[in-house]
Symmetry: C2
Subunit: 435 residues, 2 copies
């Protein structure tokens, strides 16, 4: 019998319970695939009294994380606490104590990832985080290992199941946002306070991590331009559909060539409805990666939940248990990220097609004002529709346009002019288009 791979867990909520359950249920399968059995010794959580749906002995569960971090027998610590503090302190202490860390904490990695990667390398231990992005889709391995031979040019992801469920429901049943959000809450797909998801922060955390790995740069949450999905109306989705687009909350990271600056942005986006990502619906995640020489390649699966997270966390544990030096495999790439290099493209310099919805009092001249302001900035219109109003004639008029390719700065300048113009009293809402 070979020496077991002894692990400790910090954080015993829903995800932690699912992990403990899966470790037990798949124990035989894991043992057959590994040279060393994985043994969970200790679980630390503030709450030591609420019973969990998982097989554990009462004496395994402790209130003090030191029982995990300072136990010399424990080789790897799983951090499922989430958030920045105290998770950061726990992870740093574990790395400094010479323990591998496996974490699902995307916020921590998006804010402090490069320092933690460097700290892991200094202490000659692994920091693995397959569960932080894409749930069960092994996208971290795919980026760091499977596609490592490529110069990547873009990563586009539907990375948040809550938003994708809401947008899917708004599309399939023409629901307003609030009603779709209500459904998501009722089904347990949205938190009671859904801000973190619907404002795009979760997607931005994940996008920062993917961008760092794809381009080998120190790209963080604060570098990501973020818009959420709360302002989208059924009329936007309907018109997009007529033009052959679906609206998805995308995390985008793009770079034209090796030396060029990187775009990193999160916003609701019109994408062709019959494209691979356009078909990713409900709570599923999808990540489309393009690069040279590989060309486009796409990855799809459940992005969240205890099952998907367990699959990812255990794959990291297996890597550590099976191959003691393996965590060092991509050390050079990780250290390049930690070196702090970054080159970002300002949002103003973005060039793409824009969808713009104007809501305005139906005064004569409004259309003329809009047309003139866009024309003055050199922004030309590709298609336009005036939406039929409801029965209440006092409702404002709504016009949607799609522009030809234009610079973000020019579009924003035109919109500022239009909104300021007393004649039009128009309010503009913009979405970006990806072909």
């Amino acid at each position: 019998m070979s020496k077991p791979f002894v692990i400790g867990l910090i954080g015993f909520g829903n995800i932690g319970s699912g992990l403990v359950r899966t470790l037990a249920e798949r124990g035989e399968l894991l043992a057959a695939r590994l040279p060393r059995p994985i043994v969970l010794k200790t679980i630390a959580d503030q709450d030591t009294t609420t019973p969990r749906q998982a097989p554990y002995r009462p004496e395994q569960l402790v209130g003090d994380v030191a029982a995990v971090i300072d136990d010399p027998e424990i080789e790897a610590v799983i951090e499922l606490v989430g958030g920045l503090e105290p998770a950061r302190t726990f992870v740093e202490r574990a790395l400094k104590a010479g323990k591998h860390v496996v974490t699902a904490n995307k916020a921590l990695l998006a804010v402090h990832g490069p320092e933690l990667m460097a700290l892991a390398a200094q202490n000659n231990v692994g920091l693995l985080f397959e569960a932080a992005v894409g749930g069960g889709i092994p996208i971290i391995r795919i980026l760091e290992q499977g596609l490592a031979a490529n110069e990547l040019t873009s990563v586009q992801g539907i990375l948040n199941g809550t938003c994708n469920y809401i947008l899917t429901r708004m599309t399939q049943s023409a629901l307003p946002f609030d009603q779709a959000l209500g459904e998501a809450k009722a089904k347990g797909y949205a938190e009671p306070d859904p801000t973190y998801d619907i404002e795009g922060y979760d997607t931005a955390h994940k996008t920062a991590i993917l961008a760092s790995l794809a381009f080998g740069m120190d790209i963080r949450f604060k570098d990501v331009y973020v818009e959420g999905i709360t302002q989208i109306q059924p009329v936007d989705i309907q018109y997009a559909k007529e033009l052959g687009y679906a609206i998805k909350l995308l995390g985008l990271a793009k770079r034209e060539a090796g030396g060029a600056p990187v775009e990193v942005r999160v916003h609701p986006t019109l994408i062709p409805i019959d494209s691979p990502l356009g078909q990713v619906n409900n709570v599923f995640n999808g990540i489309l990666i393009d690069g040279r020489p590989i060309g486009p390649t796409m990855y799809y699966g459940r992005g969240a939940g205890a099952d998907a997270t367990s699959s990812a966390v255990i794959s990291d544990l297996m890597a550590l248990a099976a191959d003691e030096g393996g965590y060092n495999r991509w050390r050079d790439s990780r250290l390049a990220i930690a070196a702090g290099h970054k080159r970002l493209k300002p949002m103003d310099e973005l060039e793409t097609h824009y969808y713009i919805r104007f809501t305005m009092d139906d005064r004569p001249g409004a259309m003329a004002t809009i047309g003139r302001a866009l024309a003055d900035q050199g922004v030309s219109i590709e298609s336009m529709i005036q939406h039929r109003r409801g029965e209440a004639t006092e409702q404002p008029a709504t016009i949607s346009i799609v522009t030809h390719k234009a610079a973000e700065a020019k579009v924003q300048a035109a919109l500022a002019l239009i909104e300021k113009h007393a004649m039009s009293a128009a309010r503009a809402f913009i979405l970006r288009v990806e072909e």
Copy 2:
């Protein structure tokens, strides 16, 4: 400067040239990601005279493979010869000489894989084959590492770009098979002799490899039930479309639970047109994997060509260069495959829905014969259509049906009866349906 990772290449055709080109073009990127630079020392090929579109010095290219296999400086051998012999001999010699082997040879792995895995383990070297299945999609890593924590229940793949292109063209433009094949040849997507692709052998090789890894069993090409796509007619595709299905050549490997026997089969299949695989068109590959706890997850990309193959081969080289012991990571799983265990479900015991097209002289009683034969075997009909004939009334009548779920043995028994029956003179063509 750290010691370079010196490699040799056997096979310098189109794919080999692409690999040498990509190694040169991405040299800087690879160097930044690796602790040791990869250096291609020697290339062996029977043809040492035809100039290649790749940067190499004439003295690098030799006619004798011994210059690669017996060179003590060379640590890894890339085998791009293809086919069973002499590739098998080359790979065995390289492994016995203590060299890692990276190969794209799906036929070799599907026929002799388990022995070669065992031989690699005995000699304490790596046998990596990311390029053998799915082109640039890192599906081998995904199966062996990313999803290693899961008990997989099914792998379904569109694994052959030639067939997928032909079926896509038949679907989009209602082309007959021969014309779509002609187009594929004209575009370089089909070989002058397309038998290996269109008869399903390529897909069967790849399916055997995926099934071995997914279920940890010794599953080989000869264990795979194989049907190709040559008998499909536009009328089949048209009727499938009306019912909401696309016809795709699928490689399928399924197992209900841990102990259950495994189905391994390759045949044209009706799948829902709006399913993830139903949307994989043209020369792209797609692989849908399901298991516990992860649920469905899908992988998509270019399945063939020098670029996709280079990406996969170089990812294997990088793994070897970055981490000397890493190839041993999944040794236990590989040795389980090599142990020879297998448990296969006979094709007769398959239970699914069937699409059946009957072509028959329009004699009275034909329908009655068909209906009675099916009913006698307990096979019930879910939907049926009699196709309108062309202008030539001497054309035989064509009827398509889809059955409710039925056992393969019962369906085949009914068809044998129908074909034998003098009254109907019907010829049956069957396709299987996956929901």
